[in-house]
Structure formats: C-alpha cells, structure tokens
Amino acid sequence: MLNSHLPILLVVVPLLAAPLIVLLRRSLPSWIVATAASVATLAIALPLLQQAVSEGVISYAIGNWPPPLGIEYRVDAANAFVAVIVSLIGVFVMPYCRRGVAAEVRSEEHYLFYAMMMLCLSGLLGILLTGDAFNLFVFLEISSLATYVLIAMGRDRRALVASYQYLLMGTIGATLYVIGIGLLYLQTGTLNLADMAARLPAMGDPRATLAALAFITVGISLKIALFPLHLWLPNAYAYSPSAVSAFLAATATKVSIYVLMRYFFTIFGETVVFDARYTGVILLALSLAAMFVPAVVAIFQTDLKRLLAYSSVSQIGYITLGISLHSVGGLTAALAHLFNHALTKGGMFLVLGGIVLRLGGSALDRMAGLGRTMPIAAFAFVIGGLSLIGIPGTAGFVSKWYLVTAAMAEGQWWLAGAVMLSSLLAVIYVWRFVEIAYFREPPDDHPPSGEAPLSLLVPALLMIAACVWFGLDASWSGSMARAAAEALAGGWK
C-alpha cells in the first residue's frame, strides 16, 4: 500500500521530524530522530528511483485533487536520481553531525540545528519532486530560510554577514523566479508544470515567454551560484559549520541545477531555449568563465575552506557546460558530474571538518606537516583532490570523460582542450595543499597530533571511498545519469 505513496513520504518524513525535534529539545534524542529520518529518506528514495526507471513517470495527486487542478508530485528518473543524491548525502552527513555540531554550535541550539537540517532536507526534496511551479517556490524558500539559519550558526562572526548576504541574494533570486512564474501563469493559466509544458507550444513564441525564461534563468542561476552570480557562495561555505558546508556544497546548488534543467528541457523545450536564441552560447561562455576564473581565484586563497568553495563554483561550470551542449550526452555528463561532484566535495568538506576540529582553524598555513600528524585525513583529502582534478580511477574522471565525449560528439573539439586546461588549474590548487601538508615541517607549537575522532572520520572516509568506488565502477551512476538525461529530454509524456 505504501508503495504508491513514496513520493509524498519522501518529503513528509523529514518535515515531520523537524517539529518532533523541536518538541524533544535534548541534543541526543534530536540527533537520533534526525539520523533516523535521513536514513528513512534514502530508504524511500532508492525504491522510488527504481520505480521511476522501470515504470516511467509517477504522478501523485495531493489531497486526491486530480491535476492540473490540485498540486501534483511528478516523479521521473531525473528528479528521483537527484533525490537519491540528496538523501544519500544526508545519510553521510547526519552521523557526522553528532561530534561536529557539538564542537561548533552552542549546546542549547543543537535541537534547532537538527530541526533546520530536517527542514532544509525536506525543502530540497520538495523542490525535486513537486510538479507545481508555485509549490516549487515555497519549497525553495523553506530550504533557503533553513540554510540561512544554518550558515549563521557558524562560530565566526563573519558567518552572520555571509548569511545576511546570502539572504539578500537568495531572496532576489527567488523573487525573480516568482516573477517568471507569474508571467507564465498569466499566459497559460496553469501552474502545473506538465500542463504548462503542454500548453506553451500552442502559444507560439511571444515576448512574455521570453521574459519569463529570462527571469527564471537568472533567478535560478543566483541559487546555482553560476559565475558571475556566485558572490554569496565562498563566504557562506567558508564560515558555516563544517557539516553544513558539506551538506550544502553537495546538495543545495545541485537541486537548483536540476530546476534549471527541468525548465530548459521539459517546460520551455529545446527549440524555444536553444534553437531560437543564443541561450546555449551565453551559457557556454559563462560556464567557461566559471571553469577558469574561480579556479584561478582558488589558487590564491589562504584558507582551505574558501579554496574548496571557489573550487565548487568552478566545478559548477562543468555541469552547466554539459547543459549548454543541449544533447542527451551533455545532459548525461552534467547529471553524472552532479552525482560525482556531490560525493567528492561533500567528502572533502567532511574530512576538512575533522582537520579543523583538531587544528582549530582552516588556514592553509596551519596544515603544515599534516601528512605526518594526521596521515589518514590528509591522504583522504588528497584522494578527494585527485577526484576534483579528474585523475582516472576517481569519480571526477568519469564525469569529465562523459563531458569530453559529449563535446566531441557535437564536434566541439576545442572544448576538450578547455576542460583539460581547467583541470590543470585544479592540479595547482590541490598541489598547494599537498605541498604544505607533506613537504613542510609541522610547526613547533603544533597541537597534539592524532586523527580526528572516529565518528567524524568514518563518514568522511566512506564518502571518499564512494568517490573512488564510483570512479572504478561507473555502471550504476552512468546508467542512472543516462536514464535521467533521457527522461529530461523526453519531457513528461
């Protein structure tokens, strides 16, 4: 019986966990509830993905009001795949929170932290599953508001300013999205995404559609942190608690990328977005800029967390590059990189969280001699770095391979060169860590050596191990990304 209710349960389980945590108030029980809820979401998301891949589109009518009148949850391989990514990261991050949060958040705020994590998870999953344009906005704001609070919980006072700046940028982005939705609603008279997609072609290509496309693209791009709209991201990731950085870096921007793909390929359709105008060229140019400029900035960072944040902006460029190719191959590469980069960056932030706990800061200078004092953590960080570069045998290589193949299939040989060049920049910023951690003597006053606590190290190592696993055996992630790309390009038939 429950099988047919999987789409709604995926959103409701964390949504129910949040108020329950507020009622419990104590740190340990709230952590148990949050962990149980995130494990439950993964247990729901995996069969949902299987169902979506084997049976095609699943439609779920909330309150039994038939769509397009009522709110509909519409699941296909694409959003089920991203939902699996999000809940998988949740399962990795939640066990880590117990020690990580105890060190970084005031003890009377612990239950609020877990409640916000649950709301954020619920909001992100809601964005993915909903088939209603305005419902999507509401979930976007639920997840964003929770995110602002989580970022402000960082110890540094700069976390407050970072959160404030993100609040301004995020709200402007969400409001622009609402304007776009309003224009579409005025034209089509529907908010149901599938219905909208069916009605838009009959409208021809009026200017209001163009305006809606522009507003939605810019609004969502702010949330994606697509270069040059990424200014909120480095500070937000750098000053938030480590568990939050890992969770956000792996999920928040990825979900927004899915929204952009959904609008480009399913709602507006390729002809309106790519064939009739220069969206593809603009997106290509911005992606190339994202691949190079933030990567160069990352090289000059003195703080490892900020370095990783800039590298995230640069990696987002690869994903949008895949979108700009507007072929199934390009989309497959984008979705595969979504998955692989979520694992890599999430894992690296988790490892870094353990290091920061021991060293008391994330400045690169403090990492001197880390290869000797914390050998396992330093080694895991380097493996993650290799995956960022795209060395064969790591997950990052697989998606870059897909990307290069897709670019060549389009006859864009020079793009392969660009991807290679930008990977060289990644080599430089990863090498900075290697050089400091392995070839410098530990400072005389270095803190007592020893690895991070096991509860921090194990989830981090598991994630890095997953990143190697999916680098060696990409059959599952590759075929899922392919199915998701075909579902996106095929529309919601």
């Binding site: 906005f137 509401v138 709200t171 005025l186 908010l191």
Partner: protein, 125 residues
C-alpha cells in the same frame, strides 16, 4: 493596448526597480531589507492586478452574480507574503546579531572591520 491600459504593470516595474536599487545602493543593512521588502511587494502587485476582473466580485457563489475575480493569485500571494514575513524576520534577526557582534550596521564599516581582522590574522605582530 494603450499605455494607460497597462499602468499597473508600469507601477509594478517602477516599484521593482526602486526596491532593487535600494538593495544595491544603500549600505545600511536595515535599509537594504526595506528595499528587499519593496521588491517583493511589487511582485505581489504583478500577481494581484491581473486577477481582478472589472465588475467581478469575490468568488463566493451567490444569487445574481455571474462574474467572479480569479481567487488563485490571492492564495498564491498570501503564501508569498508569509514567505516574505519570514524572510524579513530572519533578516532583521541577523542584523541584530551583526550589530551585537560588530557594533555597526553599515556594510562598509563591517567590511573594513573584517579586512582588519584578516590583516591581523596574517601578520600577528
């Protein structure tokens, strides 16, 4: 359609631009939030205005009424207002904490304080 027929859109666009300008140009964090509020309010107008039919009444079925205004935009905007209130409350709460941590709510002064911190962190002497 004449310009007069579109006047609600022009008001909307004007308010949007004013709000966005305040967010960008002012350095006072509270004023920025005021601008953000204006920006969001303009969007409410964008939804509400087209929902009104001339001669239409509230959509409650009754004798002698045949033309009803569209209620859906109102419901959507009620939701958007709640979201706006939550955003504003959170933003103000952040400004209170920033004031306590930095002793200022002027963006330039805060950034200057941060730059000072960074210099000290790099060169402790």
């Amino acid at each position: 359609m004449s310009i007069a027929g579109h006047y609600s859109y022009f008001v909307t666009i004007l308010l949007l631009m004013v709000g966005l300008f305040i967010v960008i140009a002012r350095s006072n964090l509270i004023k920025k939030l005021v601008g953000l509020g204006l920006f969001q309010t303009a969007v409410y107008l964008l939804y509400i205005a087209p929902g009104k039919l001339i001669g239409g009444v509230a959509p409650i079925i009754g004798e002698g009424f045949e033309v009803y205004s569209n209620p859906l935009p109102h419901v959507l905007i009620l939701t958007a207002i709640v979201v706006g209130v939550a955003t504003l409350a959170l933003g103000l709460a952040l400004v209170v904490r920033i004031k306590e941590a930095y002793g200022s709510i002027e963006e330039e002064e805060i950034l200057a304080l941060d730059a000072d911190d960074e210099l000290k962190a790099r060169d402790p002497s």
